[in-house]
């Protein structure tokens, strides 16, 4: 694959006269871990939602592996190889961890009819077990997802996002509300997954420590536009970024 | 020509009453995200309250109308909101919709058990004597139905757009969360909506029952027609419900006269399916704001 995995071109989005995103463009190459940061109200959530198709941009285009995706429904986008995690807890609380993870893979296996009449696990149990082992969740395999701790649920959420073997995963504030021990385990797993599978990540995050240590490249947004872009080291020392954060 | 005019005018007169019911339905939909499947029964019942006032309490007809209106607003507005909608809404929209279906049965059967299964005559508000307009016989009653319905729609629109309370109600309907932040007493506004709905239903009841006769089963078709009018016209618009009501009233009569009487009941239904297929936001509706 030669072209960028994710390509964002001149995205514009206004809400009743307020220009939330002003002509943002960037590319993400295969295997990159891109951090998207910015102060509150910088437009990063709007941009994120435009990429995910939740919002229709006023102008510009988002394409994944060269295919325009604006306005696609979430399930369609997922089938094009885009996985995501959620800011809020997003597991299926009354299903077991194993079932949660099998579910995350099954829509990519077979047809609707084979899902109706085929094997009850859609042939995914082994794959799901591997994913569980990868995130070190073995002891929780048969627990109801809703009975897990907050951090554990975040892990399950991430495992689900990876289950379909996506080419691009969008992580929406993965570190929010997770304690330190758990966080380092989480970061370790994400990095390992990226290293093993070469999956591209786009991370939106407030926790600077987490972003700086996980990402290979960072884009800083302020007032709807890109104000800086570079490696974590470059961003850390960029005076514009520091101004934007301090100036609010 | 006189036949066409006759059918058109009669259709408008009936449609105007459908519109009243549809508007109430739309208001409740906006305020509480509730599809009230008992709406037809809400129109059937006020006439019986009036009959109770006249025949059991011995009140005069006009006093009974006020009595009927008051009881309707109390029972179908306040009590409905407090005893059915408020406790069930947290369980989800579907649960509430089903509850209103059960409520429809409850009201219908109650009217039957307490006032009898047979239709009852209901005094006319206006004389039904025909007036000849270009060969079409139109009664004062028809004209008054039309005038009152249009007048009420106009007053209601003025109220919603020009008064503070009205604007607060609109804000509540559009975004209760934001309305709350802006200091609107959301609960009170929702309650007002229910009271207005009950009053509109009572008014519709008083206008049509002289011709339709008071009968426990009257709500069945009326409720259905009201939804259809609301959806066809556009769910999020008062004028949508008005247009929908008039349209259905006229089309129903035209179909019965010129196309087929056997399938006259099918026309509104086909219209409904076509609208959902082609223009789900309704004829007058805007697609935004219909994110329910």
């Amino acid at each position: 694959m030669t072209g960028p995995v994710l390509s964002v071109r001149n995205i514009e989005k206004s809400f009743g006269g307020i220009r939330a995103v002003r002509g943002v463009s960037f590319d993400v190459r295969k295997g990159e871990v891109l951090g998207l940061i910015g102060p509150n109200g910088s437009g990063k959530s709007t941009l994120f939602n435009c990429i995910l198709g939740q919002l229709l941009p006023d102008a510009g285009e988002v394409s994944v592996n060269g295919r325009p995706v604006s306005g696609l429904r979430a399930s369609h986008l997922n089938r094009l190889g885009v996985g995501r995690t959620f800011q809020q807890l997003s597991v299926f609380p009354k299903m077991t961890v194993l079932d949660n993870i099998i579910l995350a893979g099954q829509e990519h296996h077979g047809t609707m009819l084979s899902r109706l009449f085929g094997a009850p696990d859609a042939g995914l149990t082994q794959e799901a077990e591997r994913m569980i082992a990868f995130f070190r969740l073995n002891h929780l395999r048969d627990e109801l997802a809703g009975s897990l701790s907050y951090g554990q649920q975040k892990l399950v959420d991430a495992a689900m996002a990876f289950m379909a073997g996506p080419s691009l995963v969008l992580l929406d504030e993965p570190a929010g509300g997770v304690n330190l021990t758990m966080l380092s385990h989480f970061k370790d797993r994400l990095a390992a997954y990226n290293a093993e599978h070469g999956t591209t990540f786009v991370v939106i995050e407030h926790n600077m420590e987490f972003v700086m240590s996980l990402c290979t490249r960072i884009i800083v947004l302020a007032e709807g536009a890109i104000i800086a872009e570079g490696t974590p080291e470059e961003i850390r020392s960029n005076p514009t970024v520091i101004d934007a954060y301090l100036g609010g | 020509m006189s036949q066409f005019l006759q059918v058109l005018l009669s259709g408008l007169a009936t449609g105007a009453v459908y519109a009243l019911v549809a508007i109430g339905f739309t208001l409740v939909w906006q305020a509480a995200q509730t599809v009230n499947f008992a709406q037809g029964e809400f129109v059937m019942l006020p006439a019986f309250f009036v009959l109770v006032g006249m025949n059991w309490l011995g009140l005069s007809f006009w006093i009974s109308l006020l009595f009927g209106l008051a009881v309707s607003v109390l029972l179908l507005g306040l009590v409905f909101k407090k005893l059915v909608v408020e406790p069930i809404l947290p369980h989800g929209g579907i649960t509430l919709i089903i509850a209103t279906m059960a409520l429809g049965i409850l009201l219908k059967e109650s009217a039957k058990e307490f006032y009898g299964a047979e239709a009852q005559p209901f005094p006319a508000l206006f004389p039904g004597d025909p007036i000849n307009i270009l060969g079409a016989a139109v009664s004062l009653r028809d004209l008054m139905n039309l005038a009152i319905s249009l007048g009420v729609v106009m007053l209601l629109t003025l109220f919603l757009n020009r008064t503070r309370t009205g604007r607060c109600m609109q804000a509540t309907a559009q975004n209760p969360g934001v309305a709350e932040i802006l200091g609107v007493d959301v609960k009170r506004m929702v309650l007002y909506t229910f009271l207005i709905n009950a009053a509109l239903a009572a008014l519709a009841s008083f206008l049509i029952t002289p011709v339709y006769l008071a009968k426990f089963s009257n709500g069945e078709t009326l409720g259905l027609i009201a939804f259809i009018a609301a959806i066809v016209g556009g769910f999020n618009q008062i004028r949508g419900a008005l247009v929908g009501g008039l349209l259905i009233g006229v089309l129903d009569n035209l179909t019965a006269t010129y196309v087929t009487a056997q399938y006259r009941a099918a026309l509104p239904l086909i219209l409904l399916i076509a609208i959902i297929l082609l223009r789900p936001q309704g004829i007058m509706g805007t697609s935004e704001g219909r994110t329910v």
């Binding site: 429904r73 979430a74 399930s75 997922n78 959620f86 807890l89 997003s90 597991v91 299926f92 009354k94 299903m95 995350a104 099954q106 829509e107 990519h108 609707m112 899902r115 109706l116 085929g118 094997a119 009850p120 696990d121 859609a122 627990e143 701790s149 907050y150 951090g151 689900m160 509300g177 997770v178 304690n179 758990m182 | 599809v35 406790p87 579907i94 919709i97 089903i98 509850a99 279906m101 059960a102 409850l106 059967e109 109650s110 058990e113 069945e220 259905l224 939804f227 259809i228 056997q262 009941a265 099918a266 509104p268 239904l269 086909i270 409904l272 399916i273 959902i276 297929l277 219909r290 329910v292």
Partner: protein, 326 residues
């Protein structure tokens, strides 16, 4: 050792269903048969309402499609077993065609479309006399003869219906446990997350509605040989509403709910006979009260009782960090 218990209970009930009608009068057997038939219809609607969260008000119409298809075909000399699949496929296809436009739009549009459809079907059945016999309906349909087992007697027809109901229930069991059923459960618990994992809400819901409709057709196909007379009035909106309330009363979304709901609706007039005309008032009033306090239906009452007498499963507390953010 939880599974054998449940299995045992189901087997016990099945044994009861086999033994109870023996030596009973025709009326009771008739009531039991219609209980089974309505249970099948309610099972189908449960898939639409309980699992997919969409209101359908056309279950009686699908029963009508099933009933008229089998009636016309058996009257023309075809075997019931040949007519049945055709009726089912017809219901399934009609379900797809009907559900497609309604499910494209968010909201409760399926309720309105099915409401309209139910009345349309009634009008068609009444007006197209050349095919359906109009208001006079169709009569004299033979009961299926299964070679060694003739269903002409009331009791043998009951066992035949029981057999069909058991097969239908097993199929439903398979459906809700399949990967497709899992997608369904996921949709119910967290639709946004499910969509983001590739679950196509519209298609899954549409399929649920179509399968639910086919169950309605199956119930209708059994009505034909049971009553041996069908007419449009037996498939009106009131009947759709009745099936809907069965699902709700029993417990929408639970596997056994429809059986309980159907039993309640069929038997309640018997139990409340002493109240004469008031039973519908009492019934609908009870439904509203139930929706206020136990929206999950009679099954939900049972669940609550169970929770009261049994200690709840402990939440895992080994990693209690992280505020449970809203």
């Amino acid at each position: 050792m939880r599974v054998p218990w449940r299995l045992l209970a189901v087997l016990l009930l099945l044994a009861a269903a086999i033994l109870i009608p023996l030596g009973q009068k025709n009326y009771l057997i008739y009531v039991l048969t219609s209980w089974l038939i309505f249970s099948i219809a309610a099972m189908g609607l449960n898939l639409t309402l309980g699992y997919a969260g969409q209101i359908s008000l056309a279950q009686a119409s699908f029963m009508a499609i099933g009933a008229y298809t089998t009636a016309l075909m058996t009257l023309a000399g075809w075997h019931w077993l040949v007519a049945l699949p055709i009726g089912l496929v017809l219901c399934f296809v009609v379900g797809l065609v009907l559900g497609y436009p309604a499910l494209r739009v968010k909201g409760h549009f399926l309720a309105f479309v099915t409401l309209a459809f139910n009345t349309l079907v009634f009008l068609l059945l009444r007006n197209e006399e050349w095919l359906t016999g109009g208001t006079y309906g169709l009569s004299g349909m033979p009961r299926p003869d299964l070679g060694l087992f003739s269903t002409d007697k009331q009791l043998s027809f009951y066992y035949f219906t029981l057999g069909v109901a058991v097969i239908a229930a097993l199929a439903m069991w398979g459906i809700v446990r399949s990967p497709w059923g899992r997608a369904f459960k996921a949709l119910r618990e967290n639709p946004v997350r499910a969509e983001s994992l590739g679950v196509d809400t519209r298609r899954v819901t549409l399929l649920a509605f179509a399968i639910g409709s086919a169950y309605g057709g199956l119930a209708g196909a059994l009505v034909t040989p049971l009553v041996q007379f069908i007419e449009p009035g037996s498939f009106g909106l009131a009947h759709s509403l009745r099936v809907l309330l069965m699902v709700v009363v029993g417990g929408a979304g639970s596997f056994f709910g429809p059986f309980i709901g159907a039993a309640v609706v069929i038997l309640l007039p018997e139990v409340l006979r002493f109240t004469e005309g008031y039973y519908l008032i009492i019934y609908s009033g009870l439904v509203i009260v139930m929706l206020v306090f136990v929206p999950s239906g009679l099954i939900g009452i049972w669940g609550r009782l169970r929770d009261r007498f049994r200690p709840q499963r402990q939440m895992r507390g080994d990693m209690p960090e992280g505020a449970r953010l809203p």
